[in-house]
């Protein structure tokens, strides 16, 4: 799947959790949503794109980008450190 589509979907998820008054909790919820409903390859593709592509980093909303960085291990499992 293309990173563009995944960025769009991730930002959409982020837009829901933005209302959460506790940003830390919001970031956790975003990551858990992706962990629960996204196939591992989708999570890996997005994080890989975030790692290597400045455009992707810029396209991601702050809250979502922070969630991906902060919860990298949750999202990638054992591949997080690869």
């Amino acid at each position: 799947m293309t990173p563009d589509k995944l960025v769009y979907m991730a930002n959409q998820i982020g837009s829901y959790f933005t209302t959460d008054p506790q940003p830390e909790h919001a970031r956790q919820q975003i990551a858990e949503h992706m962990k629960k409903f996204w196939a591992p390859s989708m999570r890996a593709t997005l994080i890989e794109a975030l790692d290597r592509d400045a455009d992707v980093e810029a396209q991601l909303d702050d809250l979502v980008r922070q969630a991906l960085i902060e919860h990298r291990t949750l999202l990638l499992g054992s591949a997080a450190n690869a």
Binding site: M9, T19, K36, F37, A39, S41
Partner: protein, 958 residues
């Protein structure tokens, strides 16, 4: 399970609520019945038959035929037993010389104006008039021939039944059925005295009248006056099998009445707990598709979609599909293939497909068409209440004081429940409708909505937040309920959130398009009007904020204490017959049967032990993910059981391109549907009449589907999945679907008490059904929510990115119509095309005028996804700035226009909001031209003898 063709008729309905027992004496026998029971019904319950013609137990007593007269000690005259309630100590005689004479005289009058053609009459052998003539001992008619109705002309304008007024006895049963049961009031008795005649609308033929062809009048008719044409043609049925309708999520119980294996008619079952003996035009009459010549009954394969199909044996087709799937996994990895289950198929069949994916495919790439309809319901209700299902039974509506319908059109999409709702609204319940269109219930005979919130498409969340703001800021919260039943912290957060000024009706009014005072009045009515029940449909879920809307609905119900008892609740009206069931059975890529996430180790271990396979603990692809992955070269094979995403999913050209990119598409279906034109393997499907199983309707009611004829292709659908699994090396040793249900019950806590034996015993069961609820659960969340304390979720309004512009100034929204069903593969192959031969674009007169469009003009509808051409219907049903169409005919290309926008949580497509421009044109769109050519080529690829002709003209020409 064959049952008698004759259903007992106790003459009058049971009293509304079981009253105190009353004992009376009938013909010397003591009889005890509830207070309020008629003498006629009391006698019938005691096994005594009182002659009757105008009485039937589905209608209120009328007392017009004077045949049911009885003698009651201490009372003068001969009261009609149908209109006389029982009383303690009453002494009744149903037979005497005097009564016999009176009844014979009455019958003699009836017969004096009735054609004596019993031997050639279609009702011969099942005619109440004939039976009563026998029961009263009528031997002669003394009246000389005179003025009569014997030459009255037959009205055969309706495709499914005929009206022969020469046989009419003016008992008014048809008129009353249309009034009391259906609620359409299309029929009346016109004229007085001898001139009295049943008349559809104002002397119109049935087909041109307001009649909706529900069949209630035909069912109520005691003679052959209103008779199914199939019975006129074939004769009376010889046996009946009770089964469940395969159309919408109401899940009506039907008696398939048969001659041998041939269906003569489908009659709604009086004992059916979802429909109580009522039906709609689809379930009652539109079953002819099951034997339509377009059915493909021989398996076929081909290597490329540019090659002709080759007919092969079942074994060869299954082995080819299995071989291709294994090849694709070997070449591209375990996750390169997946499957779609169908909400049209049985619980047992969907369970097997997801089991095949998780075991034989070794991944979780399984999804279902609920993805594109009610997946937000599953998400939203699970998050707030703890269970992915509606809270009530249908009967609950009869105890509602306020009915709030949002994004649903029950009289078209769930017509039998729509009629139940009408009954309650006519009895005094107040109605709030939130819909961009003026649906029928907004104003219909004897019903007018207290508030029609004609909101702009895409503003549901804003509307619900505005209503919640009023509830919170005007002190309308049920504080005791919230304190006892809900989370303190999440409620406090939500209360603070919705109370913010930005959620006030005055602030949101312009966004929503509804005056603030109307919003405030609707909120007050919902919160203070007594039992308030919310009913919603795809107008809620099919938005970019579909899941948020579902949660906002649950919030509102919790805050006002409208959960956990009859008359209230949150009620998703499921679109297809088994949407609830397909979700229950683990069709989503992230959860196993019973809504348990694949990552839960204990649950997974339980399934691994039962299935003898190791299961993937990570979620798989959803449908849109599969399509995107196919276009990215990462997904290559798909098994679709009873699904047609090319027509039903959004952005048709995207779906077509994705399927073209796959190397092995296996379609299991009744017909060469739109998706099958992109398939490499075609496995013939079986209709609901050809297999055993169960469906679960919108009220969580599990009902039996019973086979009435052998599968036309030799295999029921579950047998095909078993064969495919076994060819892939995964044994599935079932000999009957009952064994599959037994396995489901062993592995699913909410189904523990369900079995075919128990379903036969109880008729149907609403899950949860287990040790704590052995008879099932009509109303959920009674003492506490399934998740414990109810959880309020924050629901900020986030406008959809699909917005109008100068280039696309109108918003398109889509929906259904009464006579057609979903992609129309079934209903288009029936006479239902009489009412809806094409999809049309509804456009407001002001929008039409500014574009020079008049009724019946061809108009191009263009969005950022594509363009199609439809004929225009200029109507004020839609508001200015909004256009509407249905998607029942493939050539319409409604989903060529819809976009790939989707719900943030579930990826349910945003079918309900697409920015478009409309322009008058003279020719079909480019897509339609290509569609016509592609369809013609694909039909030419079929072997001789199979479907080579267009189903309807509208299939191939715009």
């Amino acid at each position: 399970m064959t049952v008698s063709i004759y259903e007992p008729d106790l003459g009058t309905p049971a009293p509304a609520s079981g009253g105190a027992p009353v004992t009376l004496e009938i013909n010397g026998m003591p009889v005890t019945v509830p207070e309020g029971t008629s003498v006629m019904r009391a006698a019938a319950e005691a096994g005594l038959s009182i002659p009757k013609l105008c009485a039937t137990d589905s209608l209120d007593a009328f007392g017009s035929c004077r045949l049911c007269l009885v003698e009651i000690e201490g009372r003068r005259g001969y009261p009609a037993s149908c209109t006389t309630p029982v009383a303690d100590g009453m002494v009744v005689r149903t037979q005497s010389d005097r009564l016999a004479k009176l009844r014979r005289n009455v019958m003699e009058l009836y017969i004096s104006d009735h054609p004596l053609d019993c031997l050639t009459c279609s009702a011969n052998g099942n005619c109440e008039l004939q039976d009563m003539a026998g029961a009263v001992g009528l031997r002669e008619v003394r009246y000389a021939p005179g003025e009569n109705h014997l030459a009255a002309e037959v009205d055969d304008s309706n495709p499914y039944f005929q009206f022969d007024p020469s046989k009419c006895i003016v008992c008014s049963r048809c008129v009353r059925a249309c009034d009391e049961v259906q609620g359409t009031l299309a029929l009346t008795i016109d004229g007085r005295g001898f001139a009295s005649m049943v008349s559809p609308s104002a002397h119109e033929p049935f087909a041109e009248s307001e009649c909706v062809s529900c069949g209630a009048c035909v069912q109520a008719c005691p003679t052959a006056t209103l008779m199914e044409k199939s019975v006129v043609e074939k004769g009376q049925p010889e046996r009946a099998v009770v089964t469940t309708c395969a159309y919408c999520g109401v899940g009506c119980s039907f008696r398939a009445e048969l001659q041998g294996e041939e269906v003569v008619r489908m009659v709604p079952e009086k004992a059916g707990k979802a429909n109580h003996g009522h039906s709609c035009v689809k379930g009652r009459f539109a079953w002819g598709y099951a034997t339509h010549p377009d059915r493909i009954t021989t398996p076929m394969i081909r290597r490329s979609i540019d090659e002709p199909w080759q007919e092969v044996s079942w074994e060869e087709a299954i082995n080819y599909a299995a071989g291709e799937f294994r090849r694709l996994q070997a070449e591209h990895g375990r996750n390169a293939i997946g499957a779609l289950t169908s909400s049209r198929c049985t619980n047992e069949e969907t369970y097997l497909v997801q089991k095949l994916v998780r075991t034989a495919f070794g991944n979780n790439n399984v999804d279902t068409c609920a993805r594109v309809c009610h997946s937000p319901t599953g998400y939203g209700l699970k998050a707030t209440l703890g269970e992915s299902a509606g809270t009530q039974d249908f009967d609950s509506v009869q105890q509602a004081d306020v009915v709030f319908i949002i994004g649903a059109n029950p009289t078209d999409a769930h017509p039998v429940f729509g009629s139940m709702m009408k009954q309650r609204l006519r009895d005094g319940a107040k109605l709030i409708v939130a819909d961009p269109r003026t649906i029928e219930l907004v104003r219909t005979p004897h019903i007018e909505a207290a508030h029609h919130l004609k909101l702009k498409p895409g503003t549901n969340v804003a509307l619900l937040n505005a209503l919640a703001h009023v509830v919170v800021t005007e002190g309308l919260v049920d504080e005791a309920f919230v304190a006892a039943r809900c989370e303190t912290e999440s409620f406090a957060q939500w209360r603070e959130f919705v109370a913010r000024p930005e959620n006030a009706p005055e602030q949101l009014s312009e966004v929503i398009g509804v005056p603030a005072e109307t919003l405030r009045a609707a909120a007050r009515l919902y919160a203070t009007g007594g039992n308030a029940a919310i009913y919603y449909g795809l107008g809620v879920t099919e938005h970019s904020q579909g899941s948020t809307t579902v949660m906002a609905i649950a919030n509102l119900a919790m805050a006002t204490g409208n959960l956990g008892r009859p008359g209230v609740g949150v009620n998703p009206l499921r679109g297809q017959n088994n949407v609830q069931g397909s979700c229950d059975m683990g069709s989503f890529p992230h959860e196993l049967p019973g809504y348990r996430h694949v990552s839960e180790p204990t649950t997974r271990l339980e399934f691994e032990r039962a299935w003898g396979a190791t299961l993937d603990p990570e979620p798989g692809f959803r449908v849109p993910n599969m399509l995107d992955a196919a276009l990215a070269g990462q997904f290559h094979g798909l098994y679709l059981q009873g699904e047609d995403p090319v027509q039903s999913d959004p952005n048709t050209q995207h779906v077509q391109a994705a399927l073209k990119a796959m190397q092995c598409v296996v379609v299991q279906d009744l017909f060469l549907n739109e998706t099958a034109k992109y398939a490499h393997v075609f496995l013939p499907g079986a209709s609901f009449l050809e297999k055993d199983g169960t469906f679960t309707n919108a009220e969580r009611r599990i009902s039996r589907v019973r086979r009435v004829m052998r599968p036309r292709a030799g295999k029921a659908d579950w047998e095909v999945t078993v064969a495919l699994a076994e060819a892939l090396g995964q044994p599935m040793p079932y000999s009957h679907p009952s064994e599959i249900m037994d396995e489901i019950a062993r592995l699913t806590p909410t189904f523990t008490g369900v079995s075919y034996a128990r379903l036969d015993e109880l008729g149907s069961i609403q899950w949860p059904c287990n040790d704590s609820a052995p008879l099932g659960t009509p109303i959920m969340h009674g003492e506490s929510f399934v998740r414990g304390l109810g959880r309020f979720m924050l629901t900020a309004y986030v406008p959809t990115e699909e917005r109008t512009s100068r280039k696309r100034p109108l918003l398109l929204t889509t929906g259904r119509i009464l006579s057609q069903y979903n992609v129309g593969a079934q209903t288009r192959r029936t006479d239902n095309v009489h009412w809806h031969a094409e999809d049309r674009l509804e456009i407001h007169p002001s929008d039409a005028e500014s574009r020079g469009v008049v009724d019946d003009d061809w108009v191009a509808v263009a969005s950022r996804s594509g363009e199609t051409v439809l004929r225009a219907s200029v109507t004020e049903r839609v508001q200015p700035g909004v256009v509407y169409t249905t998607f029942h005919h493939p050539v319409s290309g409604a989903n060529v226009i819809t976009t790939d926008n989707s719900d943030w949580a579930t990826n349910c497509p945003e079918y309900k909001v697409t920015a478009v421009e409309v322009a008058k044109v003279m020719q079909p769109s480019e897509w339609q031209r290509e569609y016509g050519e592609f369809t013609a080529r694909q039909r030419a690829f079929l072997p001789d003898g199979n479907d080579k002709t267009p189903v309807t003209e509208s299939d191939t020409s715009a």
